[in-house]
Structures are given as C-alpha cells and as structure tokens.
Amino acid sequence: MSTSVERFDERARRQADRVGSTTVRRGELLRHPVYTRVLHWLVAIAFVLSLLSGFALYSPWLFRFLTPIFGGGAMTRFLHPWFGLFFDIFFVFQFLNWFAPMAWTEADRRWLKRIKEYTTNKDKLERENVGFFNGGQKLYFWAIVLSGVLFLVTGLLMWFDHLMPRWIVAVSYVVHDLAGLLMLAGFIVHIYEGTAAMPGTFRAMTNGTVTQKWAWTHHPAWYRDVTGRDPRESYDRERRRQLERERAVERWEREQDAREPLSDDRVP
C-alpha cells in the first residue's frame, strides 16, 4: 500500500511543480513543495469555514454573529456538513502526503519531555535530533487525524439522523463538539507558532522556503539531512561571523569618532 501511495504522491508532487514553482534563493532551503502548500491551504480554508459555521451552531452566544456570514441559520446548517466533508477529503490527501514523516519517534518523546523549556524559550536552539517535524507538530497532526475520524463518523450520524436511534444522535452531538474543541485548541497554537511565535515560519507555507538559519534553529536534524552540514557548526560559524562583523563595525565607529574633531577644524 505504502509504495502505491508513494507513487501517487510522487506523481502529484511532480504535476503540482509543473503548474506552480518554488524559488529557492541563496541561504534558503526548500521546505514545502507546491503540492503540499496547496493541500495545506485547501484543508485550512475548509477547516476555517467548518469552524465558523460549526461555532454558529455550537454556541447560542455566537449564533447571531456567525450565521449571517453563511446566509442565515438554515443555510449555515446546510453548508456545515459539506464544509466538513471537504475538510476530510482534502485532509486524506494531506495524510497520505505526510504520514511517513509524521511517524512518532524516540526523538519526539524526548522533545515532549522538554516542552516546558520549549514554550518558555529556555532552549534557544532545538535539540539536534529534531527532524522535519517536531513532536508538537506531530501531535497536532495526529490530533487532526483522530478528530477528523470522529468528525466524519459523528457527522454522518447527525447528517442522517432519521436513520439512527435517538441516543446515538444525542451522543454524537457531544463527541462532535469535543472533537471540535480538540481541533480548536490545536488550531490556536498552530497559527500562533506559525506566525508570531516563530518569525520566518509562515513563508514555508507561502513561498515554500525557509532560511538556513531558521532550519538549523528549529529543525537541526532536517538541516543536516538536506545540507549535509552539522547544524551546530553552522550555528557557531554564523555566530563567529556576526561577532567579527560587530567588532569591525565598532572599530570603524571608533575611527570615525577619532576623526571627528579634525573635521570640525576644517569648517571655515
């Protein structure tokens, strides 16, 4: 199965790259190819639509604010299952695309142990064994897989509620909502980490590239794999270069300062 999936995936990537393109400039690395980016945003759009329409039905406090976006309550009710279905369909492709690099490893277990240092920025550099995805990203991925399945099953039960016994439908509402909350929690963190928390990350899903600095900081093992260089050494070299540059600037400034009284004399 996995080989046919890989073959399908490979073909999809190649075709997407033929339509779109990714420009990798000097000092940058290719992070996500066109196919992955397009899939990501298809999933994201379907998810946001599902979330907004779902939240309208979820909470009486939000019903009035969110249903008008979709053309009223009845329309929201009509569209929501379709948004959800599209989300699940797009995500199946993303799942096939990503489930290999998302496999849980020993490194991720260790990453999870240092989650406190990670969130408080005590660890400025990620540990060396963090690969293409870190433990948090993998957790989010598998949370989506889990809630995606829950959404689909309970969603279908609620969609075809007239075929189901009463209690199954009643339980489905709750499970569907809990899956939604799980997704929302992950979603908030995901957006934050992808934008404000880690500058330089968002472009991975727009341009498809990241800087090498970003790569050795956040995904050292991946950096090693694609460049063949040691992330620590690269970091140290960059640091030395920066220090030298700073010293050179300081030296130049001192020289300027020393020259200034002379230039004052020259003023007529």
């Binding site: 039905l57 019903f63 309550g73 009710r77 970003w214 640091r239």
Partner: protein
C-alpha cells in the same frame, strides 16, 4: 406557529440573555386532558386538526389496523394509535390520541441550537417558530415521544401547536371541539389534573380497573397533555414511555461543555497573546543583532548605580 405576542414567553431555544418580559404577566398553565377509556377511535380529532391547520390531505398507510398511518407526520399532528392488548384472557382494544405532549421540560427546546426556533410560553405551550428553524433535526432526537417531524421540502420541523392560535383567542384546541364522546378536555392544568384524578378514582373504585391512573410523567416535570389510562403501571401498552427522559448528554453538553469550551477557547487566545507579550518570539539563531545585557529596571538596581 402563532404570533409570539399572544402569550408571554417563558423560554426561548438557544437564546443568549434574558427572555423579554419574562415574569411580568400572570398566565394560567393550560392543559389538555385525554381520557383514553372513553375514546372510541372515531378520528374526528384527526380531521379537525388537519382542517384547522389547513394541512393538505395526505395518503394513509394501511397496515392491517385501524390506524391512519404508523406515526404522526410533519403535516399530520394528531393520530389515534390503536393497540391490541390482552387483559384477563380477553382482548382489549386500546386507543390513544397521540400528539405533542407540551412537556414542562421540553427536550426539543433543550436540544435546539437555533435562536428562537422553539419557544415555550408561560402557559406551558411549546411552539415551533419555523421562521427561525434551521432544519438540523436536533429536536427530533431530543423528544422522548417522537413527535417533531422533518419536512424534506421546506427543510423545517413541524409539530402540534396545541392550537396556540386558537387558545390565544380564548378558544379550545380544534381536536377538543371535535370530540363527540367528551373524552377530550381543555382547561387549566390544575383543573385538568383534578378532573383526571377523580376520573381515575372512579375507574379504580367503580369500573374494576385497579391500576387506573393519570399519566403526567414527573421525569420531565409533567406535561401539558395528560392521559387517564386503564393501567398506569404499564403505559408502554399504549405506546407511551414509562419514564420519558431527555438524554443526559444535553445537560452536560449545553450547560457544561459549551460554556466551558468557549471559556477555554477564550483563555487559549489570551494565553497565546500573553505568551507573545511576555516570552516573546523564538527567533532563528544566532539573532541579529545579538542581544545585549538587559537594562537594570528595579529601584534597587538604580540606587546601586548612583553612588
């Protein structure tokens, strides 16, 4: 569906905030009392219901009984249910008028996610407002009596209104008016309970139905349609649940999970915001320019600086 201005509203489905005008007007609780022991199954009430509500005549389903169709429909709110039963080796033909029970604690209203689609008046009538209905069908699963029915064409749910339009004008529901045997009664809840109780007592003492009693299930805080049954111990024989309940998940879900979920979402957003403000972003290393030593900011540090 009646003009909501007619009665004082007590409860509105999925409505944030208070109910307008709640508790400003006194209203007597109304009740329909059905004496199944004197029902002859003539179905005059069915016809009256269809006529008053201007429903089109619909096809009936013959399934070797006298029953018009298996269950109530979106445009057939009143149905006499026929059941054959045995008592002391003899056949008993049970006839019961099935319609919305207008529960004091309505499961449909509890389950409904649409603001104002289901309202309950102070007088106990539970009324659907199809203008606000979004057709999700949650009320169908919320109802312990299988009453609300979905219309595939309009994508809305319909059920008996207890003729709220008639009651608002001081008239009895159409089914009551049509009943030829007087087995249907309409009035205030307290009056109906009293009449029903004395009828049950009569059945117990004079007609040999030792288990006769009033069906007004306490598990949903009573209903605004009550029955006198030959045998109150086994209402299932009449197709009534002995202990009608609203799935507990609704309570957990609506009054606990939803507010908690929203609160957690809000706190999550706040947490993320304050993480950015306090801990700050995680920049690619080494940062450019390199961070310098933090400036002393406490009074003590400043005092130390100035000799």
């Amino acid at each position: 569906m009646s003009n909501p201005q007619t009665f004082q509203i007590q409860e509105i489905s999925a409505h944030p905030g208070p109910v307008p005008g709640q508790g400003t007007r006194r209203e007597e609780e109304v009740c329909k009392y059905i004496d199944v022991t004197t029902c002859i199954g003539c179905k005059a009430c069915e016809v009256a219901c269809v006529e008053w509500n201007s429903h089109p005549f619909r096809e009936t389903t013959f399934d070797n009984t006298y029953q018009t169709m298996p269950s109530t429909e979106w445009n057939y709110w009143n149905l006499i249910k026929f059941a054959e039963d045995e008592r002391d080796g003899n056949l008993m033909w049970l006839m019961r008028k099935d319609q919305c029970m207008h529960c004091e604690d309505p499961g449909c209203l509890r389950a409904c996610p649409a603001d104002g689609a289901i309202i309950k008046y102070e007088n106990g009538i539970v009324d659907f407002q199809q203008d606000n209905c979004i057709g999700c069908g949650y009320c169908i699963s919320g109802c312990p009596f299988d009453i609300p029915k979905f219309n595939e064409k309009t994508k809305k749910v319909y059920k008996c209104t207890l003729c709220s339009d008639r009651v608002g004008q001081g008239l009895e529901p159409a089914c009551i008016k049509a009943c030829p045997t007087g087995c249907l009664h309409f009035g205030t809840k307290s009056d109906m309970v009293q009449i029903a109780s004395s009828r049950a007592k009569q059945l117990r003492e004079q007609s040999g139905f030792a288990n006769a009693g009033v069906y007004d299930p306490a598990s949903i805080k009573g209903t605004h349609v009550i029955y006198v049954l030959h045998d109150i111990k086994s209402p299932e024989r009449y197709g009534l649940p002995a202990n009608p309940t609203i799935p507990a998940s609704y309570t957990v879900w609506k009054w606990l999970a939803k507010p908690t979920g929203l609160l957690m979402a809000g706190l999550g957003l706040l947490a993320v915001f304050f993480h950015r403000v306090s801990v700050g972003p995680k920049l690619p290393q080494p940062e450019e320019p390199l961070p310098v030593e933090p400036q002393p900011d406490t009074l003590e540090a400043k005092r130390k600086e100035q000799p």
